[in-house]
Subunit: 140 residues, 2 copies
Amino acid sequence: MTDATDRTDRSRLAPLDPDMFDPLCPSSEMPFRVGDKWTGMVVRCLEGGPRRFTELRVPLRGVTPKVLSETLRAMERDGLLTRTPYDENPPRVEYALTPLGRTLIPLLDAARAWSEIHLPHLLAARRVHERHASGAAPVA
Amino acid sequence: MTDATDRTDRSRLAPLDPDMFDPLCPSSEMPFRVGDKWTGMVVRCLEGGPRRFTELRVPLRGVTPKVLSETLRAMERDGLLTRTPYDENPPRVEYALTPLGRTLIPLLDAARAWSEIHLPHLLAARRVHERHASGAAPVA
DNA sequence: CTGGATCCCTTGGGATACTG
DNA sequence: CAGTATCCCAAGGGATCCAG
């Protein structure tokens, strides 16, 4: 338990896995994208409950504050999530999926399932063509 | 299976609807993308059977030969479709989905279903924010 | 008919630095 | 902590022209 029982009760939320979007993870090569590069990942980050700006930066490794900010604003604009600032010090802002945003989850699940089953084949086919392109002799 | 009297018997295939990706069609604003801008649409074009290069250009309005060619080569490289040139005159080439390529169809169906149900809400939310951004007074 | 070759422009998005 | 402000680059993709 990270904190007190006050606030929004996110205290029992498991911390986000820093590796959930690890570049080495096959699903990060998922050929399906929702809108832009980060939207799908943000949905994944928020499906367990509201998260704070900095909290999102952990699993979304490499995302710069600028880009994350842009992504979040676009998603808010599209009604996919809500932004809730608290008048405290230090400042605190929470992002949470709207019902509309939650409707994306099954799609992401489907995409993930597809990747787990078929992505290896796609990648294998790609490697074969790369081999040909590189002019290497067929493997004996 | 449609079989072939001559060639691949695409003769009984319904011609592709020129409007199937009309910019005005809601599904063309679909926020889900497969890989790049055109891949998903190409799959849709091919799900009914093999098609020729020029045939694909009809519904994919606005796509330049260069871009379509790049898309098709990338998809072939990834094992999503096959490219079959016929040694005739005038030249004829047919593109057809592979079994792997066909596995994308359910995903596209899911995305389309999502769009039909939820896209209007997303668009509505977007319009509200645009209105605010434009500084227009709230409509009475 | 089926593209390849060029040119070019927009845009996503990364790096870095700086505020309330 | 939660962003904003700049700068900048690579890449997607469109237009146009050309060739087998």
